[in-house]
């Protein structure tokens, strides 16, 4: 009985979270007039909304821009953050704790505070209206450092010493020993960075003016609120749905690691 109630609550929760998304997905296939109605399923399936999106904005270009930015950022974050995390967790050097605390401190500074100085920098470097301006400021990430450091700490030092005697340098230890043993943490950090970066709207809006360099969320936002959609709800929903697809695909693909990492984050070993 207790279990039954628990499942009821869980189902209600799942519906509450999934409903808007499911509704958005189905509504994007409805004829424009039906969207305001109460039915969930369209009376007739149509791709009109999508056609309008593709006709009015270069969404494929925006998708590619986004993909380049997010892959570059995620790759770089994982590479550099794991190096930092390795140095912070497995190497002994003077000032290690101070550096770690400084990194933690940067997490406490609200992003908004950093926005203007960062923007000024990017302008001075002449990186506006280029993907470089979207990538470089996010090459490293304190959250990823924290996640990876905590995971690396659970790897016994003996293994690394054995590797050192076997002939590994520090970088090889990181990539041939530590990485394979930290896949859940790396996937988790990767997904968090990927999603955060994929959904970023404010920064691209500040840095990018030319349509050819716009990222997908930026373009979809401008399309929805900037009048590109002629006030039609269907195309807005279609664009938003396409924006969400990569995240869903990513999560479904890596969900096994993601969950195992979250579940074991409190357990040692």
């Amino acid at each position: 009985m207790k279990k039954f109630l628990l499942y009821i609550v869980l189902i209600l929760g799942a519906v509450a979270f999934a409903y808007p998304f499911v509704w958005m997905m189905l509504a994007s296939f409805k004829p424009e007039l039906e969207i305001g109605g109460l039915t969930l399923l369209p009376s007739s399936w149509t791709l009109d909304s999508y056609r309008l999106v593709f006709e009015s904005i270069p969404i494929v270009r925006a998708f590619l821009n986004s993909l380049i930015v997010v892959v570059a950022v995620t790759g770089s974050v994982l590479l550099f953050s794991s190096m930092i995390a390795y140095a912070l967790s497995k190497l002994n050097w003077r000032g290690r704790e101070t550096v770690f605390n400084t990194i933690l401190f940067t997490m406490m500074v609200p992003g908004m505070v950093m926005l203007i100085p960062l923007y000024t920098l990017v302008v001075r470097f002449g990186w506006t209206d280029s993907l470089v301006g979207l990538i470089v400021p996010f090459l490293m990430n304190a959250t990823a450092v924290l996640i990876l450091r905590q995971s690396f700490l659970t790897i016994p030092g003996d293994i690394l010493e054995a590797a050192r005697i076997d002939g590994c340098g520090e970088l090889r230890i990181l990539f041939t020993i530590i990485w394979p043993l930290s896949i859940p943490a790396i996937v988790t950090a990767g997904i968090i960075v990927f999603i955060g970066n994929w959904n970023e709207v404010l920064w691209p809006i500040m840095v990018i003016r030319k349509e050819e360099w716009m990222t997908m969320p930026q373009m979809v936002a401008l399309f929805s609120v900037g009048g590109g959609s002629f006030g039609k709800l269907g195309p807005q929903l279609a664009a938003a749905f396409m924006l969400g697809l990569p995240i869903i695909a990513l999560f479904l693909f890596f969900q096994r690691y993601f969950i195992s990492s979250m579940a074991s984050s409190g357990l040692k070993g």
């Binding site: 003996d158 010493e161 005697i165 076997d166 590994c168």
Partner: protein
């Protein structure tokens, strides 16, 4: 030419603790040297300095006459077996053993040859494809040893490799490592806190305490001629019995125990070596097997007979460990199986005079 030479090797940690105070050890080619001592005595730190896993604060370390203080572990031509096996969890047994060879760019067919050879020595042929997770403790330890063998190193280092195994397996692995040493003829340095391992495996044993080397000797000499009270007490199980007292010369040379006033007449042979200690405090030591049950009728000229109360009997089958006491004095004796009085009753024990050890009360030095 010693295979490994430590010259005044000293280790001071960042927090100021001195782990090793100037160790001087020469390990001969093909020797099995055991470092033994209680926890915190610096034996593991010494080994880790040899391996290159700890920096050397002071002193010199030579491997094959090359100064290697600043040489990276991988270039010292050593292999190490860790207490926790330290196998790579994501690699199969084969890959674990082959990893070091791959990094050294050994040709593939040679890697396979060497791994197969090590696997057959250690009986690992059937589990080469398994991951460490799927192995028992003994198998994991064998893989760890195999990983060291395939490298054909000049020196093998073992850091308490058997302490995570159960008693039976420990005895078995102990023999296997000894056999391996004979087979390979390689220099091996072995750290343990288990004096039985040290005594049974080592060609020579280094006894350490608080970062100092107390004695370096063969197992037998260590046992029969300990240089000080610590070594005498540490080597041997059950441990040597000690009594504090003074030496007196009234007719014959007599040891008088401090608290109980118990007197033991010593043999005259000791006169010369103990002459300087008359009327001074001194420690008398006797090993459990040098105490026997006194025969009632015969006069025991070469033994001092003392009447004690039986506290506890531990029959081991081949022998009985007898705990006896008198006032504050406690003794452990190892006697042959026989009818013995029950605990609480008195027993006359004979202490073999020729087997007494004497130690300076202050310094603990053997006299």
């Amino acid at each position: 030419m010693p295979s490994v030479a430590l010259r005044g090797l000293r280790k001071v940690f960042d927090d100021g603790t001195v782990a090793v105070h100037g160790a001087d050890i020469s390990v001969e080619e093909g020797e099995f040297l055991v470092l033994v001592g209680p926890s915190g005595c610096g034996k593991s730190t010494t080994l880790r300095m040899i391996a290159g896993l700890e920096t050397i604060t002071e002193g010199s370390l030579y491997i094959d006459d090359h100064l290697v203080n600043d040489v990276a572990p991988k270039d010292r031509n050593i292999a190490m077996v860790f207490q926790n096996y330290a196998l790579y969890p994501h690699m199969s047994v084969f890959d674990n053993m082959a990893f070091g060879l791959k990094l050294r760019k050994v040709p593939k067919h040679e890697i396979k040859e060497r791994v197969d050879q090590a696997a057959s020595i250690l009986g690992l042929e059937d589990i080469l494809e398994r991951k460490p997770k799927a192995l028992s403790g003994g198998q994991r330890q064998r893989v760890a040893v195999g990983r060291a063998i395939v490298r054909h190193p000049r020196v093998f280092l073992f850091d308490e490799p058997l302490s995570n195994l159960d008693a039976k397996l420990r005895v078995q692995m102990r023999m296997e490592i000894s056999k391996l040493h004979r087979k390979l003829g390689a220099t091996m340095i072995y750290v343990t806190h288990d004096q039985v391992e040290a005594m049974t495996m080592g060609d020579r044993i280094v006894v350490m305490k608080d970062g100092y080397i107390e004695q370096i000797d063969t197992p037998i000499d260590l046992y029969t001629q300990p240089v000080n009270r610590f070594v005498a007490g540490f080597i041997g199980s059950p441990a040597m019995n000690f009594m504090e007292g003074t030496l007196q010369q009234n007719g014959s040379l007599t040891f008088r125990e401090a608290d109980s006033g118990l007197s033991i007449v010593l043999s005259d042979e000791r006169k010369s070596s103990l002459a300087d200690y008359i009327n001074l405090p001194i420690t008398l030591g006797i090993r459990p097997e040098d105490i026997s049950v006194a025969r009632a009728d015969s006069a025991e000229n070469d033994s001092a007979v003392i009447e004690l109360k039986v506290e506890l009997l531990e029959p081991m089958g081949n022998e009985i460990i007898l705990h006896a006491s008198s006032n504050a004095l406690e003794f452990v004796a190892r006697v042959v199986p026989q009818e013995l009085p029950d605990p609480g009753q008195n027993i006359r024990l004979a202490f073999a005079r020729s087997k007494f050890h004497f130690f300076d009360h202050e310094s603990g030095k053997s006299l």
